[in-house]
């Protein structure tokens, strides 16, 4: 079953003097259970493509279908709903809410989707345990190490059982040990829960954990392995 279908997508940003075309006619498909690493140097457009696939932005032209829903035709509320229900995010800088505990952070997508606090926290607790942070559930982000913060953000990204997990340089702000553990966790979630993962990175060792590597250069796909 196709989770993500990217069809001749372009994204142009209005620049200072001339518009900047960050993504230039990319086509790509991800099936359920895929784990794709998007690689390329800085400025190649991989983050923009990731944002488009994560329904953070609409393409300038072309189509992006997430489980059949066309991102380019959805309004802001519908995009929000899509993200809330079908997509999970992991960021380089973790982006946990500092005012919420690990458990509350992990439960957030469920709470925002209207689940009761008790139910949301109960489901989140299971995920927090799965990422190895059971003993840290009541702690605030600033009390955690970088690796722990990223594990908490992964728990938050998958608590609502998304069809697609979008990870932008998830190890970019971690040392190699912690980075390796995060990649293991992602591989385990992909294998265990069948979550489709699209990961952007510029590090070759990060890409090795993926089932497929897609390279980008100057806004286009260079090749696919």
């Amino acid at each position: 079953m196709s989770v993500l279908c990217v069809d001749d997508v372009r994204k142009t940003f209005a620049g200072g003097e001339a518009p900047v075309e960050a993504v230039r006619g990319v086509s790509l498909g991800l099936e359920a259970g895929d784990f794709v690493a998007l690689m390329g140097p800085s400025g190649c457009g991989k983050s923009t493509l990731l944002h488009l696939c994560g329904a953070m932005e609409r393409p300038s032209s072309g189509r992006i279908l997430v489980e059949g829903a066309d991102v380019s035709t959805l309004d802001d509320d519908a995009l929000t709903r899509l993200r809330r229900e079908r997509i999970g995010f992991v960021f380089q800088f973790f982006n946990l809410l500092p005012t919420l505990t690990v458990l509350e952070n992990a439960a957030l997508p469920l709470s925002l989707a209207g689940h009761g606090l008790r139910e949301a926290e109960s489901r989140a607790r299971a995920l927090v345990a799965r990422v190895g942070l059971e003993h840290r559930a009541g702690h605030y982000p600033q009390q955690l190490s970088g690796g722990e913060m990223q594990r908490a953000s992964i728990a938050r990204a998958v608590v609502h059982e998304p069809a697609l997990l979008v990870a932008d340089e998830p190890t970019g702000n971690l040392d190699s040990d912690n980075g390796a553990r995060i990649l293991e966790l992602l591989a385990e979630l992909n294998a265990g829960l069948g979550i489709t993962i699209m990961l952007a990175t510029h590090a070759i060792e990060t890409a090795t954990v993926a089932k497929r590597v897609v390279r980008m250069l100057d806004g286009r796909l260079a090749d696919a392995t």
């Binding site: 802001d76 709903r81 809330r84 800088f93 809410l97 500092p98 005012t99």
Partner: protein
Amino acid sequence: MIAGPLRAARSWAALFRRFIIRRLAGERLRTAVTVLGIALGIAVVVAIQLTNASSVRGFEAAVESIAGRTSLEIASPGPGFDELLLNDLGWLRAYGSVSPVIEGDALAVTPDGARESVRVLGVDVLEDRSIRDYDLLDFASGDRQPRPQEFLELLVDPRTVIITGKFARRHELAVGSDIDITTGDTVARYRIRALLEDQGPARALDGNFVLMDIAAAQLAFQRLGRLDRVDVRLADGVSVDGAETAIRERLPEGLLVRRPDRRSQQVEKMLAAFHFNLTALSYIALLVGLFLVYNTVSISVIARREEIGTLRALGASRRAVLALFLAEAATLALAGCALGIVLGRLLAEGTVRITSTTVDTLYVATAAQPVPLGLRHILLAFGIGMPLALLSAAVPALEASRVAPNAAMRGSDRLELRFRLRVRTLALPPALFALGWWLSTLAPVGGYPVGGYAAALAIVLGAAFLVPGVLFAVCRAGERILARVFGIEGRLATANLGAAIPRISISVAALAVSLSMMVAIAVMIGSFRETVIHWIDQTLQADLFVRPATRTNIATESTLSPEVIAAASALDGVVAVETYRSFDIPYGDGTIILGSSDFRQEVVRRKLAFKSPPDGAAAFASARDGRGAVVSESFSIKFGCGVGDPVVLPTPRGERQFRIDGVFFDYSSDRGAVIIDRAAFNELFGVSAPTNLLVYLDEGVDPDVARQQLIDATGSSHRIFVYTNARIRAEVLRIFDSTFAITTALEIIAIFVAILGVASTLLTLVIERRRELAVLRLVGADRRQVRKMVVIEATVLGGVSQAIGIGVGLLLSLVLIFVINVQSFGWTIQFRLPVAFLLQSTALILVATALAGIYPARRACAIDAPEQTVEE
């Protein structure tokens, strides 16, 4: 050597222009809100200064214009003195020119139907021309001024007057026209014999000046055989100080010598407490406005951490960064002060109008025009606004200067530490409240309630330090409750606020302080109103209250004629008619009201409510021997005296000592009043015409019918105000309400500015949390949820501010009622809790702060999620 610093200054100025000014210009709305906040604060201060000055200046200008070249005045402590005394004052001429004077307020009704208050001066023009200038318009075809004999002939008929050209032009009057002038309660028609040019006394009161012969004025004001004063113009080379001392030594008992400006000084002193309280109140809005400066500079610093980091990395010193943000505050304050001065002048038109009823009714009639804006007011605005704005910006500017270059650029210093409550934070408020308690027990300093205001300040500071603790408790306790009521948005709102306590405390404190002032003033006014209603129930017992139409305030020397008293006595169903006379006399270094009534009747009617002894009849009975007096509570408190103490009054027969037999409650004047029995009064002051008349009717007689009968009986030859009991009660409350209208107006401005502060704080929080808000949006929060969260935050801030405002406001109201009011005005007020007002204001504040949250909420929704969450 000089080139280095000069170059550094130039490059800093360029940086300021590019880094700060461009940003201010770009963020127009936020800049405008801040400038408006400062401007409103400054405007209120300037408006109150102009208002206060106008009430004194109006009186002063009239005194100065009419005084002319008068160096000294000979007067009596009471309402004038016997003109025969003039025979014993022949020696005064050795010092210069001398002119006896009758002066009074009157009501002119012109043929065009206009009614205007006028000041009447009665003089012997031949003697007076050496003291005042009377140049006539168009006399003898305009080619010359009248010779003394010709001038005398103009006014030889007692029904002739000279008015000003300005007044004549305004009402299309001319030489030969007739004008009705009411003096006291008596209306008489006068013929205009000449018009004065706009100079000398004609400049007084915008031309509302009438010149009469002294004999005509004595007749008009029922002062036959009496003089109000004798004006003296000292001969060239005679020292005023020396002459004043020498004349004082030679004057017979009961007369005094003073400079004309002494009267203005007395008015200033009389209004001092009223003005002092208005000034204190006007600073609240400014205080609140300055919180906006803090907020705006905070926003700049927070929103631009990375940029500041870059500047620091590129070599900008800490000092240069500090100076940039202080200069931002200075720029905002400069614009705010300039706009505030203009707004203040406009606002003054309104504040003069609002306060003029109080000043005119309770103190002295003045021209209700704001004084022109002077350099003094401009200096005041900038002198207060600029340093305070810099002080307000100091904390965020220092924060900016401490931004580390690398940390800011990496963004790793963004994770906030959760707020922890310190013991010091908890211990400070009770300590400050205790200090307030102690300060409130101190005696006044120079008649001003300095301790009371210091106590209020300590309480306000205590309230400000209370804010973090209360916010902490509310966020902790409210976490579950708000989550249950509002869902995840409620939970997020309390979490956000809990983490931002240090950031929001100042804004909440500003709003809480404004609200506490509002509560305190509402409680004070409500309690005062209830007290006054209770007081008028006890004291206003007569069925009709009569006064001359020209007696527009307590201090006006207008009396009722025997015809009016006779007409009142002859009304159908009259049980009794009582007369009351009062006027101002000098006492201490100010003036008090001396009144007289028939104590035999007072024993029967018991009109006054007594503080001590509780039985007023006993006080009056005791004071009937002519050596006793009853005094008002404000007199007793101001001069620190009570029952059994002596009070020495200046009289035309020299100083007389009275024994205080009773202290009564009196809310009609804060100057202090002494009432003595009619017999002793007439003997000492030699006057008997009353200023007020009270008529008691049989039960069953309709007061409205009796009122109309009295007006009909006095006919068109008399002009009086007759109030029924119900009407005078309404009138008392009308004056009461108008007195506090200014208080309410100033409070509304302060609260408006404080709510701007809340909006501005929320905007700070939104900008500060833009990454978290972006994450929220990415993990699925829709716009409605983000909006709801920010509006809940705004409402919680409003609720916490109002809760603190009510608690602290009640404390402040105790200081206002039992310390500041007692020390300023000498009034006892019974404490009453206005429950309905507190509920209404709470609802209003919650709605207002929720509305204030809408704009920051919209900004929160507009945050670009990918841009904020992804950094490559």
